[in-house]
Symmetry: C2
Subunit: 239 residues, 2 copies
């Protein structure tokens, strides 16, 4: 039997839930949306790091690579970094073969905490279909909605629900956990007016108040990029 | 501003989320449904305990009280106990002034873990309306969906959503967290065919396979009892 579970926030994430399983990390606003966009636009790899010091250190230790430092703290730019945590700052053709070193709070923390998984994918609405296409034969699949500040964030669970809905359309026969049933219900009950109740969510409104409307529009585009992103030897790469 | 949060399982429950706040513990299948029913039928108080030893010890130490021991382990009866963990085993008039000592895994654990709350209520579908009626002026309200074995359980979040929907009907102006927005969405998208997707849930189907259909029917009756249940000095009582 194939099983499909959803972890509703990084707080719930424990080794028991992910060890030896296939996990998909989702942080729609905006870490995994940035990663997917960067790899789709030609970046060679994405290195998630936890601190800006770790990011600077990566650049210093890899003079042979074109390193782009991306990230922000409380939506403010970080001094010495090349860009913020925004997919619309990325320009196709300008990051060919680059290494994007990203420091974000939620997405990166989740990726690190899930490292006992047997396979780790990174997804967002932007590449949901392409990702679902490679997950069909997975035995134990766990979609991880990163959340915000350790809390449930509705846009991430909505994206998990979208992935489940795509797998269902492919006639996949996963046994859904209760959290997966609820995520699918969340997506299906909001798909007619997508992204639905997400526009009432906390993180969505924080970004809206900061004028990040272009990001909000971009991050909810479904299946813009036919790219599958997976962690290999500590880096997220396109497979 | 009044705030309303939902905790999706006991795993998420931390002091930060509940200390000094008003909490409502929900364990539809079946701990809080039993508690609400017992108090409605005339029991004086409910004492939640974690082990059967603690239950026997309570009876030994309170010879002056009519003590009824209730609970089960993996849906099997406990030797020396008076009843299982089932609301349909309770008979009005037979438990007048009794003390119901209950040992259940999920509900009891949640109650103990939330004891830094300023006020602690116990609710289920059976007394949702009565409970919502006393929560209208709460400043920081946290609905705790106990879950099953530490995991998200859809019937508990559905009940949280029902409570939020009742508060909304009363024109209460709570600011909803993302988890609260999702719980309300879960209820509203299933209310026309209530209990909706709960019938696909894990705990629901475990009880169904064990032939507990009468319990399942009973636990999803909305607002059968106009009783409010609150913890006072270590016991759950009717207020």
């Amino acid at each position: 039997m194939q099983t499909l579970d959803v972890i509703n926030s990084v707080t719930e994430l424990s080794d028991t839930r992910v060890t030896g399983k296939t996990v998909v990390i989702i942080d729609v606003l905006r870490a995994t949306s940035v990663m997917v966009t960067a790899l789709s636009y030609g970046a060679k790899k994405v290195i998630p790091v936890l601190s800006k010091e770790e990011a600077f250190s990566y650049r210093n230790n890899h003079p042979e690579e074109l390193v782009i430092l991306a990230g922000e703290r409380n939506a403010d730019p970080i001094e010495g970094f090349d860009m913020g945590n925004s997919p619309v700052e990325l320009i196709p053709g300008k990051i060919d073969s680059a290494t994007l070193v990203m420091t974000t709070t939620n997405g990166t923390r989740t990726i690190r905490k899930a490292d006992t998984a047997s396979e780790l994918y990174v997804a967002s609405f932007l590449n949901a279909k392409a990702t679902a296409d490679v997950l069909g034969s997975t035995k134990e699949l766990v979609l991880i909605a990163s959340g915000t500040d350790g809390l449930y964030s509705v846009e991430d669970v909505l994206c998990a629900g979208y992935l489940i809905s795509l797998l269902k359309q492919m006639n996949q026969n996963f046994h859904l956990s209760d959290a997966a049933i609820a995520a699918l219900n969340l997506y299906e009950s909001n798909m007619a007016h997508f992204p639905g109740i997400t526009t009432e969510g906390r993180h969505y409104n924080i970004l809206k108040k900061k004028g990040k409307n272009a990001d909000l529009q971009f991050c909810f585009l479904k299946d813009k990029f036919p790219v599958v992103c997976q962690q290999k030897e500590g880096a997220i790469v396109k497979i």
